[in-house]
């Protein structure tokens, strides 16, 4: 199944040019622009109703667009119907044909293939083997488990060797263990076949784990398009920061700019110098600095650090086994931050009301203004 031609790095597979979509008066897609590279694992991430599934369906051809253009492999898809596009889809419900066997489902797309029946049967068997369902061809499709149905849906879509595989929340129907297992399998499968994968998900963790790049969407617009690390460490807005992981927001005042750096005074933390990449373009809100909980450390007695510290009082302790969450008041002010601390042997859980030093570093800050 390694039919995918080697593609030049960073070549574009899908391009959105100012894509608009209306449902009656509702503006579902509000000028989407961006590119998906050939061979990458790309995710559309956002809360329900943000337009991510609509955008995926404009790639598949199930939704027409009311403005702009969608290009696949350099070709405008405006006049190309869904059944003629070089894309295949794994549906949220998997859409396994219940009146057919597993093999008939997987081989469905080969009906118009001129190859001989024996060759098609071999292709079906290969596709089933690829998703770990070797020998399942004769089984009735409606008797499969959720995980197996998903594999059948994958094999059925991949057997046509599409340029792009579209996945519409394929893991949301599975339980947690199965979901984590399938995440890893999907990543491996994508590397193996080299096909461009476009995944729709509302689960930020899933997107971070699986994707090469992620487009975060809110209300029909792409808020940020970046690789997972950039999204997590340098979110370009409070909204993105809040949607991906947990972020402490602390009121701050911008003091001034010196040599490309921006000096801020954050409540409870004090002054800090930030690089330009820590300060995304302004949003017009009152300024805030953002701080991921795990970039903060609670100092145990006798422990030293090269980072800056600030006094705090523990207000709440939530024990998770591998982690403990602490809500801490900083510097005796009303600023509360939530920290997650790894539990290690020899480090007791701190008690509510105890005073602690909290270590932080300016490089972990992001300024939103």
């Amino acid at each position: 199944m390694s039919s995918a031609k080697p593609v030049p790095p960073n070549s574009t597979m899908i391009e959105f040019r100012d894509v608009h979509k209306y449902y009656g008066d509702y503006h579902a897609l509000r000028g989407i622009s961006g590119t998906i590279r050939a061979g990458e694992f790309f995710s559309l991430l956002g809360p329900s109703g943000c337009g991510k599934t609509t955008l995926l369906r404009t790639i598949a051809g199930f939704e027409g667009i009311d403005g702009g253009a969608v290009l696949i492999d350099g070709k405008d898809m405006a006049r190309v119907a869904a059944n003629k596009r070089p894309t295949n889809m794994v549906f949220q419900s998997y859409a396994i044909f219940p009146h057919m066997s597993v093999g008939e489902n997987v081989g469905f797309g080969l009906r118009r293939d001129p190859r001989s029946a024996a060759e098609k049967a071999r292709a079906v068997e290969d596709a089933l083997e690829m998703v770990g369902l070797k020998g399942y061809g004769a089984r009735a499709a409606h008797a499969l488990s959720g995980g197996q149905r998903q594999r059948v849906a994958l094999a059925r879509a991949l057997i046509l060797k599409p340029k792009v595989l579209l996945l519409d929340e394929p893991l949301s129907a599975l339980d947690k263990k199965m979901r984590e297992h399938m995440q890893v399998e999907l990543i491996k499968l994508q590397r193996q076949v080299g096909i461009t994968f476009v995944l729709v998900t509302h689960d930020q963790e899933e997107a971070l784990v699986m994707s090469d790049r992620i487009a975060v969407m809110f209300e029909g617009e792409i808020a940020q398009l970046a690789d997972p690390e950039t999204l997590y460490r340098r979110p370009n807005s409070k909204k993105v920061a809040d949607f991906i992981g947990t972020m402490n927001f602390i009121p701050a005042v911008v003091i001034g700019e010196t040599g490309g750096q921006i000096e801020v005074e954050a409540k409870g933390l004090g002054r800090a110098l930030l690089d330009a990449d820590q300060c995304p373009a302004g949003q017009g809100d009152s300024p805030m600095v953002g701080l991921r909980p795990e970039t903060l450390t609670l100092m145990y007695p006798g422990q030293t650090t090269t980072e800056r510290t600030v006094d705090g009082v523990i207000d709440e302790v939530i024990y998770f086994g591998d982690m403990t969450y602490y809500d801490v008041y900083l510097g005796g002010t009303d600023v509360e931050v939530r920290l997650s601390m790894r539990n290690t042997p020899g480090r007791p859980i701190l008690e509510v009301g105890s005073k602690v030093d909290v270590a932080w570093s300016a490089s972990a800050l992001v300024l939103f203004r």
């Binding site: 199930f62 869904a82 059944n83 949220q92 859409a95 219940p98 469905f108 797309g109 009906r111 879509a157």
Partner: protein, 268 residues
């Protein structure tokens, strides 16, 4: 006490409902032209007499043509109606579906009378074709109701998946939709057939010189000597009806099981 009262009521109700039907086979095999107890012996003469009745055969043939045509036409219309009402939304849909379903509750008397008036006014000769017309009108709502539940339990992404895998609208309908709603179609055919076969008022009003089974039976009851043979015929009809409805229900349930839907209750 309360439970016993309810039980007596339930038993009484069932006797009232089914005892007359049970009497049908009893007197059909009773060796007497008088329909009264005590029974006077076993005979199959009435079945033989019925079998030899040439007018009856003609009425039966008419009825089968009417019921068969009605079932096919109503079911085809039902497929269109059910598909439109479950898949598409358009202005005035609620009212339109309501109007399609209305004959379900409209007194047949009114349907029969108004059709008769219209047909006479535009001078269409009354025949089995006008009966088919009336029967299609009253059975189409049943077809739409049965087929809507079949179409409703279809996941829309099944069609999209077929489309995604390279099929066009026609082949998608043939390969995916039709096989999955086939149980509903069979069930609709059987129910429309049964309703049409039983129907009396419209058949009586609109058949003209042609006789159908229901009006023929009614006519024969005027001659006491003919009654036992009609009871024999009735016995056979009850048997055939039960078999047809059972098959219809079997297919309806299998259809729901196949598409993984939930059984929300059917006709039986």
């Amino acid at each position: 006490m309360k439970a016993r009262g309810l039980r007596a009521y339930a038993i009484g109700y069932l006797i009232f409902l089914y005892a007359p039907i049970v009497l049908l086979p009893i007197f059909a095999f009773n060796d007497s032209r008088i329909i009264a107890f005590p029974l006077s012996g076993f005979t199959t003469n009435w079945f033989t007499e019925m079998w030899a009745d040439r007018q009856l055969w003609q009425a039966l043939r008419n009825s089968l043509v009417i019921s068969g045509s009605t079932a096919v036409i109503a079911t085809v219309l039902g497929v269109f109606g059910a598909r439109a009402s479950t898949r598409y939304s358009f202005p005035g849909k609620g009212g339109l579906v309501g109007l399609i379903m209305l004959p379900l509750v409209l007194p047949e008397m009114i349907v029969a009378m108004s059709l008769l008036v219209v047909l006479l006014a535009i001078s269409v000769p009354l025949s089995i074709f006008t009966v088919i017309l009336g029967h299609v009108l009253i059975t189409t709502p049943f077809a739409v109701a049965i087929l809507s539940s079949a179409f409703q339990s279809l996941d829309k992404s099944l069609e999209e998946a077929a489309y995604d895998l390279g099929e066009g609208p026609v082949s998608t309908f043939r390969l995916i939709i039709l096989p999955l709603v086939a149980p509903g179609i069979i069930s609709s055919l059987l129910i429309c057939f049964t309703i049409s076969l039983d129907e009396f008022i419209i058949a009586y009003f609109l058949a003209g010189a042609d006789t159908v089974l229901s009006s023929y039976i009614y006519g024969q009851f005027r001659f006491p000597a003919k009654v036992p043979a009609m009871l024999a015929l009735g016995t056979i009809l009850v048997l055939v009806s039960v078999i047809l409805l059972s098959i219809a229900e079997f297919f309806r349930r299998r259809g729901i099981a196949k598409t993984g839907g939930k059984d929300t209750g059917g006709f039986l």
